[in-house]
Every structure is written in C-alpha cells, then in structure tokens.
Amino acid sequence: MRPDGRPEGIRQSMSWLHTWSGLLLGWLLYAVFFTGTLSYFRAEIDQWMRPELHRSVPDAQTLERSLETMARLAPGAQSWSLTLPGARRSAVEASWREPGAAQGRAGVKRAFLDAGTGQPIEVRETRGGSFLYRFHFELYAMPRIWGRWIVGVATMMMFVALLSGIVTHRKIFTDFFTFRPRKGQRSWLDAHNATAVLGLPFHLMITFSGLLLFMFQLMPWGVDAVYDGDRRAYQTEVRGGQVAAAAASVPRPTGRRSAEPRAAETVTSEIVPVAPLVEAARQQWPEYGVGGVTVSSPGRPEATIELREGGGVSLADRGRARRIVHDGLTGARIDGPAETASSAVRASYNVLTSAHLGRFSGPALRWLLFLSGLMGTAMVATGLVLWVVKRLPERRKLGRTPFGHRLVEHLNVGLIAGLSIATAAYFWLNRLLPASLEGRADWEIRGFFIVWLLCLIHPLFRRPRPAWREQFMMAALLFAGLPLLNPMTGGVSLAASLAHRQWSLAGFDLAMLALAALHGAIAWWLGRAVVAQGRARPGSGRLAMVHAPQAPERMP
C-alpha cells in the first residue's frame, strides 16, 4: 500500500493493514479490552459496590435459613433459586418467579439474603460490575443490537490486525526477549511486541471466541443453511443433554402420585430437610461443594430440589456445573438422562467460549485470564501510542503537527488515560451518591460518561505530555482513595477483610491499590521525562512519547 503504487512485499502491505485496521477502531478496542478484563471479576465488583452485603457471614445453617425465608417471601413461587455464598460472594442471592410472571428475565424477582440471619438485605440501587460487563459487548445508550454489531465489527478488525501483525513481525520469538528501554520509538515497538507476543494465544482466543459468541448475529448463514432457518432447533441440538438436565424438564416418574393419591394437593407440603442432601452432594463433589440450589414448585407435591456444583469440571463441557435432582417430598434421587459427550467441533467451541467467559475458573486461572486481559489492554494502548511516536520524525520535518496526528494524540490521552479515571469515578460515585437518589444506578453510569467526557476536554487546554501525566496522576489518586473510602461508606475495611479472610473484598481493595501504583508509576515516569527535557534534545529518546517540539501544542 505504498502511496506511489510501486510493488512491495507482503510484509510491507500487511504492516500497512496492521497500522490502519488497528488505529481505526483502536480506542473502541481499548475500551472493550479494559472493561472486559475487569469483567473477569464481575462478582467481586458487584459485591464491593453493595457494601450492605459485606458483613454477611455464612455458616452451616445458611441454606436452611434461606429456604425458610423463601417460604415466607415467596410461598407461591414457581421456583426458588439460591446462589450460595462462596469465595466470590458473601451473601445468598435469591431469585424466584411468581405464578403468572412474565417470560424471561423480566419475570424474575431477586433479593439478597444475609447468610448469617437469613433476612433479606436492603441494598443500594446499582448496576455494579454488570455495567462494565455489558458495556464491553453492547456499549451503552443504544439498541443492544447496534452495540453488538459495532463491537462485532471492531472484533473482526482486531482479528485482522492480529493476523497481519503476526505476518509483519518476522522475528516473533527473538523479539519476545527484546526490550530496549529509553530508545524512544524502539522501546514503544518492543513494548507493543512483547505484550502482543506474550499474550498471543490469549489474544487470538479472546478475539475469535468473541466472534463465535456473536455468531447468531454476525454469521447465521451456516446454521440457516443446514437448519432451513430454524435457529431454535440448532440451539436445542447443541445443548443436547443440557436442556434435559434442567429441573423443569426432567421426566418425572408418572403414575406414582396417582397410585398413591394425596389429599395434599391443596395443602402446602413441606420439602424434605436439605442438609443431608447437601452433605451427600458435598461428598460426591469434594472440590467445589454445592454452589446453588433450585427448588421447583415449592410447597406442592411435584416439588423437586436441584443441587448445583460450585464450579465446572471440564472446559470442553462449557465449564458447566454438575447437577443432582431430588424429589422434593421423599428426597429420593431422580436420575436425569445420561450426559452425552461433546464432539470435537463442539468441544473446541466450548473451550474457546468458556475460556472467554472465564466460566470454569478458580482463582488462579481467573487471575491468569485477568493478567492476559491487562496485557491485551496494554498491547492496544502501546499500539496507539506507537502510531503517534512513529510519526514524530515526519512532524519535525514538516515543522508543524498535521491535524490527524494531533487528533490521534488527543484521543489517546482522553480515551486511554480518561477511561481509568472514569472507571475509578464510577466506583467513587457508587459510594458517594445518596442511597435514596432517584434513578441512582443511572446516575452512577451517567457520572462515568461525564467524567470520561471531561477527560476528553482536558487535553484541549494542556500540551499532550502534561495532559497524560495529570490524567494518570488523577487516576492513581482516585484508585488509591477507594480502599479508604470503602470503610467510611459502609464497607468492610481492608484490614478487617484480610483478617477475616474475605478474599473477594480484600482482593478488590488490593487490586485498586495495584492499579493506583501502576498509574502512579506511569505518571512519575512521565514527570521524569519532563525534568530530563532540559538536558536531552527535545523529541529524542523516551521524551518522544507525545512530544512535538516545533508544533503548536494546543488543539484549535
């Protein structure tokens, strides 16, 4: 793609493609990577953002107490579903469906129960980590389908940028061990290469599986061709045994009830004590134990009790939790249909998408995915900065900064550094907005976008490098303040959560301190570059990050 149209090698043309496909939607990809990476800890973020739940401590009787509460809260419900406290949550999350409730998510009622007392906990209205999670594939304030298309297109661009980047990059393994600090453009290139190569399997997995997760929207033609457009039939076949394993469709032994008629049809029947069932399940699943319980048709003769394992076993099986279903009145075990093994194709689909969703993962794998996600975030950011740095010689030659260069530089500051500030501000607003505020959850999100917008305006009035430094400094301060804000606004302090081994709470505060340190280190490094400016030739070495000596430094 030389402007003069002379012939060029495949490496050159792929380098061109890599540069421009990466730049065009680079900021969107950065935001998707950033919020998606945080989503690996969605449960922890949800919990931190509901400090009312922090003091809930589970014990051996938690499940019984919760079921008693449910019998009081929702005696006539079609089913109760309880997610029990574990490593990632401290309270019981209950959901149920009233008779005649709307189909789908709209008909589901939810409550948090205190694990120690079984009582419902009144929590503040917040979207929590779900906002960040949804944003990373649906964006915000637009019809879902548009957001998904936009992110889908960006994902394909990312895939193209990755593949063309690999072709461009001939010394893929030597470069992984190469880092030349303080060499300006070379350092940025090395940083970009190292983060890309080190995380390459993750980057390819996350991008390709991102496309697969949207396959019905982006690429339904394969399914339509063999199913004549009947997508529901496809989904049923893909799930195979999974649909049948759900409590609702377990074939019940017919005739037993009629052979033994009960007058209880109108009277509420008590379900059997669950403790022995849970104990038996725990022996069968020594690793994760019981993570959730669903009671279908509680109080009626056809009641069933389904126990779910607290974690998935096999990735190829979508990291799906194993289940045991019991008869609600007798406690007898009801065998579901035999599980079918996944075929090779379906197993690869399952492995890819479950890894994307972090479905199976215990803490170690979750952290590995999180760190890989951070690496991807850094890869996108260094790539965007590299675009600017690489064009500094051209700027010097021209003696001015072309509008395009200035635009990219400006957007880099406001969208990369600004997103950190906006995210930290989202957490701050979660604690500072009064609990009684009308539309509170919406205001948290509006606050996030207002702060991000301010971060885009800020570089209009500052030269690029001070703008970078100030924004990183701001982000560091905001992140560092969160562990202090937490106990002052109803949460459990870091000291207490560490002492009580509440790792999910302590983990959030520690992660915020780590983010503060990271942003602070970048701000400090940028500050050193300013001091060194007096000694070094302007625009050389590491000063080159965002520096254009002869250029007018302000946006018009």
């Binding site: 793609m1 030389r2 402007p3 003069d4 149209g5 002379r6 012939p7 495949i10 043309s13 792929m14 061109w16 493609l17 496909s21 394909m156 895939f159 193209v160 593949l163 063309s164 072709v167 390709f208 496309l211 697969l212 396959m215 982006l218 690429m219 033609w221 394969g222 399914v223 339509d224 061709a225 063999v226 199913y227 496809y234 076949e237 893909v238 075929s343 194709v345 379906r346 690869s348 689909y349 051209e394 030659k397 072309p402």
Partner: protein, 129 residues
C-alpha cells in the same frame, strides 16, 4: 501494477501527488476487504455447512465448524484484499469465490456445484493471465 502507475511520492502518505487517486485505491481495497470479505464469509458458512452435513457430520457440528471457517475466511480475505498487487486481482480472488460458493450453497447439488466451480476457476484463470 496498473491501478496507480505514474504516482510518485516523496515521503509519507500526505505528500503524494494525487491524493484522490490514492484515496480511491484505499477505498476500493477497503470495500473488497469489508463488503467482499463479508460476502465471501457468508458464502463459506453456507456452502461448507451444507457440504459438511452432506459428508455425514451431525448438522449442529457442521453449522458450527462452518461458522468458525467463515470468520477465518473473512480475516484472510481482508488480508488478501490489501496484500494483492492489484485491485482487480484482489477483487477477483474475493468476489469470484464468494459468488461461486453462494451459488453452490444455493444449488446444493453436487453436479451443478462442479459446473459453478469450473466456471469460477476459468474466470480466475482469465484474470490472472
């Protein structure tokens, strides 16, 4: 290299002599990559799903494998669109297979698919010569 013969640049893409020509070149390749690539991937999805199902693979697997293939085809088509020496060649290598596979999926008949395939190969041979 007929598309842009005669263009001479000194340095950087801002300083070429006929920017509109260059912009047109980029735009046409981008069109082949995005629209042509998507058309190709849709055709790959449909045709390979039908073909795999015809080999006896369970149809859910056939549809899924075809979809994975289709996404990869789009990415490769995009790279091809920018890697090819001339725009005409790029267009031919993306659009002719797309049309061919779409036709094959639509006809879903082995004999007719063969005819469509031969026509496509002949077309590409014509472009290349």
């Amino acid at each position: 290299m007929t598309d842009s013969a005669g263009l001479r640049a000194t340095a950087g893409f801002r300083s070429f002599q006929k920017p509109s020509r260059y912009a047109l070149l980029v735009a046409s390749r981008a069109f082949i990559a995005i629209a042509g690539g998507y058309a190709l991937s849709c055709a790959v999805a449909a045709a390979s799903a039908v073909a795999l199902a015809a080999t006896g693979m369970p149809r859910a697997d056939a549809a899924m494998a075809a979809t994975m293939l289709a996404f990869s085809a789009h990415a490769l088509a995009a790279m091809w669109a920018f890697g090819c020496a001339t725009v005409r060649r790029a267009a031919a290598w993306v659009l002719i297979p797309a049309a061919m596979l779409a036709l094959a999926a639509w006809l879903s008949g082995v004999g007719l698919t063969g005819v469509a395939g031969l026509a496509g190969v002949a077309g590409l041979a014509g472009i290349e010569s």
